[in-house]
């Protein structure tokens, strides 16, 4: 672009902005076809493009803009009605203009862009209109083309009386013409304005208002009022300047440095304790904060900036899918840092496309399910605790949780037995996994299974988060949580070993102090866990994760963190404070370590490493094994002393069967093909032993459908060096059974029935079950004991 003149550069930039506006206006015009304001605005904008392109000798662009303008003038004059077909053609015209502009931007010429077919479409549309309402000859339009680009200077005004005449508009700005305003407010007579305009055209160099005033055709007060009304727009245009984003970035970096220097200074001054110095330092601190805020503001842009393209996207997409979608935008003035806006743009567009394609149903289906034929897609942006939340909500059919679960199992992302234990939202979050799509058919819009994972990655790259919630039949809400700015984040500083680390506050849910008495860390065969309000929270020791010397379990803190939809606790020695830190990119050589999201300069001037919470979670192998370790953990935790009896709740067919946890040694999964037969019994080889299996479904006569899957879940019970395994369909939960109702059971193999977690649950007679697996289990044991005695 360097070789293009400044004028062309400016023209391109302005035109792109104008085109975006036209897009929006066209889509709105389709909604309210009678809006003259919209038509005039579109007309003016396209006219400006036409004028300037003529002036800059981009003839193809001019011709195309001219064609669009001709069609618009018919709409404006009411010769032809606004129909969806017209809008489509006009949108196509705008696209044509856009590709011409890109071509100009890329190689300085407008070659190779097909405008003829678009122009033909426009003409066809006009002829269609003419057939319906013959009027308005083409010659008028031709005449227009001949008179382009005299467009600078002061403004001759398009008036009601002179609709055919093209209105040369000022290239810059889109002020409403003075004459039009005067006529509208009744301050001047149309014919007077008309004649004043005529005088201007004939060479009178006075301004319109001056002519009217000097000829006594209008009141000075009315004219100045109208000029006032015009001015604000101009003053915005004149008071705003375009600034290179790089310059803003540099400023932002420098302010970041300043913040750090201030932090150091304030710390030093506090140590000295000189009152005057402290005051100065505080003042410096305040000024720095304000400066920082100011610089931040310069980079802020309303989210409208990226939303503005969406009405068009929604319109085109819903038309091509024969759906009716109304787009509602709330909070479009919400501001975000520019670089973040850029990063959010594509993910947002994807979510919107996805919502139109998969979220909102066809009109027939909507009617069938008792909704209106038109779906509503709501974009919502708002501030929330130092973040900006952006929601894409549709009122469509909602996500099908079962289908997602099934798909997740098919794709090997989840095990079947995990699903019943999972939160609905965790299952829904599976759609963010790479290659995941439940779409029945692949459309050109979506369903290929690329996309949601990219959305997630992109948003997480900028320190944000994505979640989804859905109610069947009522719709789906996709929610993006985005930090306000990239460069400065709220963070917690923590100590681990003798070093200080930084954890982004966005990931932190809560902090727990471990005193070793009332709160303590427990171990499940070496894996640390913590009981957080009755649920087991897998723990990651930061010192261990970093390969440092492992410290004690007492007097430490657990930071409850959330990443990738998983919760875990990070054990650190000390949590110091929250502060704003400036994120510095970390040298590329440390990317491979993957544990660090960046670095920052701490208050004392040292470098602090910012921890990457999600990779910390991943590295600690939390992801897949979380559920499992939970269960194992609790089985161990029992010995540590719980109140009441703790039960392992399993599912056997339709029934829920509870096994006292203190009789459980381990939970295992065996591949089905490892099950062998010894006589009539099923056995597996386990730790060098032959482990007899008993299927609780057989034992209890619960012949349901055999659960499918590669593996079987078993509960291993060991005593005196012997083990048996009870095969269950799946592990449901661990429950405490102290106060629930209990009733003795008559049935064989059970000792009773209890209500656990609002469900009737049968209590297994473990001894009986074990004997079923191995009739000699106890007798041999007794024999052994006898041998010992003997």
């Amino acid at each position: 672009m360097e070789d293009l003149g400044e004028i062309v550069g400016e023209f391109l930039m302005e035109s792109h902005e104008n085109l975006d506006q036209i897009d929006r206006d066209l889509v709105s015009l389709e909604q309210e076809p009678d809006s003259r304001d919209l038509i005039s605005r579109i007309f003016r904008a396209i006219h400006t493009i036409k004028g300037t392109s003529g002036f800059l000798a981009f003839s193809r662009l001019e011709t195309l803009a001219h064609a669009g303008e001709s069609l618009l003038s018919k709409l404006r004059d009411g010769v032809q009605p606004v129909t969806p077909a017209t809008i489509t053609v006009l949108l196509a015209t705008i696209d044509g203009v856009r590709s011409l502009l890109s071509s100009i931007e890329e190689n300085g010429s407008e070659n190779d862009v097909d405008v003829e077919s678009i122009i033909a479409q426009v003409h066809a549309q006009m002829n269609a209109g003419e057939a319906a309402a013959p009027a308005e000859a083409a010659p008028a339009a031709e005449a227009e083309a001949a008179a382009p680009a005299a467009a600078a200077e002061e403004t001759p005004v398009p008036l009601e009386e002179t609709p055919v005449r093209p209105a040369p508009e000022p290239v810059e700005g889109q002020r409403r013409p003075l004459g039009e305003m005067l006529v509208e407010s009744g301050a001047a007579h149309p014919s007077d304005v008309g004649s004043a305009l005529q005088q201007q055209i004939e060479g009178d160099e006075r301004k319109l208002g001056t002519i009217l005033l000097e000829e006594g055709k209008a009141q000075p007060a009315a004219v100045s009022e109208a000029l006032q009304a015009q001015t604000p727009k101009r003053s915005i245009a004149d008071s705003a300047i375009r600034v290179d984003v790089d310059l803003l970035d540099t400023l932002l970096n420098m302010v970041g440095e300043l913040v750090l220097a201030r932090n150091q200074l304030v710390r030093g001054v506090m140590e000295i304790g000189d009152a005057t110095l402290v005051r100065s330092a505080q003042r410096l601190g305040m000024i720095t904060s304000e400066l920082q805020e100011g610089i931040m503001k310069t980079r802020m842009q309303p989210i409208e900036h990226i939303w503005s393209k969406l009405p068009r996207v929604v319109r085109d997409l819903s038309n091509s899918l024969d759906k009716q979608v109304q787009l509602v935008m709330q909070g479009k003035e919400t501001e975000l840092d520019r670089s973040l806006l850029e990063a959010v743009k594509d993910p947002l567009t994807h979510l919107v496309r996805n919502a139109v394609d998969h979220g909102i149903e066809e009109p027939e289906r909507r009617i069938a399910s008792g909704k209106g034929p038109e779906g509503t897609l709501t974009l919502r942006a708002y501030h929330e605790g130092g973040h900006v939340a952006v929601e894409v909500a549709d009122d469509g059919a909602g996500l099908n949780v079962e289908r997602i679960a099934q798909k997740a199992v098919e794709n090997g992302l989840l095990r079947k037995d995990q699903i019943p234990n999972m939160d609905k939202r965790d299952i829904m979050a599976m759609v963010f996994q790479p290659g995941f799509s439940t779409a029945a058919k692949v459309t050109n819009v979506s369903g290929r299974g690329v996309g949601m994972d990219v959305v997630k990655t992109n948003i997480e790259n900028i320190g944000g988060a994505v979640s989804v919630d859905s109610t069947p039949g009522e719709g789906t809400v996709w929610r993006l949580t985005i930090p306000l700015t990239l460069a400065i984040i709220q963070a917690l500083t923590v100590d681990c070993g003798d070093q200080r680390y930084v954890v982004p506050q966005v990931a932190v849910l809560e902090l727990v102090f471990i005193d070793g008495q009332s709160t303590k860390i427990e171990y499940a065969s070496g894996a640390p866990v913590y009981r957080l309000r009755g649920k087991l929270l897998p723990l990651v020791r930061l010192d261990r994760a970093l390969g440092l010397e492992v410290g004690t379990d007492q007097g430490v803190y657990i930071m409850v963190l959330q990443a990738d939809g998983r919760r875990f606790g990070l054990v650190v020695d000390r949590v110091l404070n929250t502060e704003e830190v400036v994120v510095k990119a970390l040298n590329s050589r440390f990317k491979d370590i993957g544990l660090y999201a960046g670095a920052t300069i701490l208050g004392d001037g040292k470098v602090g490493l910012i921890l990457d919470v999600s990779s910390l979670a991943r590295r600690s192998h939390l992801a897949a094994d979380a559920e499992r370790s939970n269960l194992e953990a609790s089985s161990r935790a029992v010995a540590g002393g719980g109140t009441g009896e703790r039960l392992l709740v399993t599912a056997v067919g339709e029934r829920r069967v509870a096994i006292p946890l203190d009789t459980v040694t381990r939970l295992e999964e065996f591949p089905r093909d490892r099950i062998e037969h010894a006589g009539s019994r099923e056995v597996v080889q386990y730790r060098g032993q032959i482990l007899p299996l008993v299927r609780l479904s057989h034992l209890l006569g619960a012949y349901g459908e055999e659960p499918e899957g590669e593996t079987v879940s078993v509960v291993v019970y060991s005593e005196g060096g012997r083990s048996v395994a009870l095969v269950v369909d799946r592990i449901v939960d661990i429950a405490e059974n102290s106060t629930t109702a209990r009733r003795d059971a008559e049935e064989d193999g059970l000792v009773g029935t209890a209500v656990i977690q609002q469900r009737v649950t049968e209590l297994l007679d473990v001894r009986r079950a074990i004997l079923a697996a191995d009739p000699n289990f106890y007798t041999d044991l007794e024999n052994d004991e006898m041998l010992v005695e003997a």
């Binding site: 510095k584 050589r589 440390f590 602090g608």
Partner: protein, 145 residues
């Protein structure tokens, strides 16, 4: 006769040199932030006027034991490729003008990690200076792989 300027420094009694234009600055610094799990050659990070710089321990690169980063340590900060990077050295020497005539390829007897880092030998008065390959010297993954 072409000559080149070298900034010289000592590591484990051996004189090394890098071409002056690759050096941004030389300074002593005494607070380093260790980076757990980083390649062993990374001594730590430090704050150079608000910029985070990685300090590469040249001793480790040469196959020697780590240098204890306690107290002031000399850093030769190289411009690097896009981001500055520091070489931790024992002592800073002079900047010397060297004729290409005094240059020889590394001796065949030189082997081990040092051989990979050195592009040549300059014969100074009374001692030899090994010219470092800057890119190799700061490549912290080299030694570990």
């Amino acid at each position: 006769m072409a000559s080149r300027q070298f900034a010289t420094f000592e590591v484990a009694e051996q004189l090394f040199g890098v071409e002056v234009h690759t050096v941004q600055e030389v300074l002593s610094y005494n607070e380093y932030t260790p980076v757990p799990l980083a390649p062993p050659a990374v001594g730590g990070l430090f704050n150079l006027r608000g910029q985070v710089i990685a300090a590469v321990d040249l001793r480790v690169q040469l196959g020697l034991a780590r240098k204890a980063l306690e107290g002031p340590v000399m850093n030769v900060i190289l411009r690097g490729d896009g981001e500055p990077v520091s070489l931790v050295v024992d002592r800073i020497g002079e900047v010397v003008d060297l004729d290409d005539e005094t240059f020889e390829p590394p001796p065949d007897t030189l082997s081990g990690p040092t051989r990979e880092l050195v592009v040549g030998t300059f014969k100074l008065d009374g001692r030899l200076m090994l010219a470092l390959d800057v890119n190799q010297a700061v490549d912290t993954y080299r030694a570990t792989t």
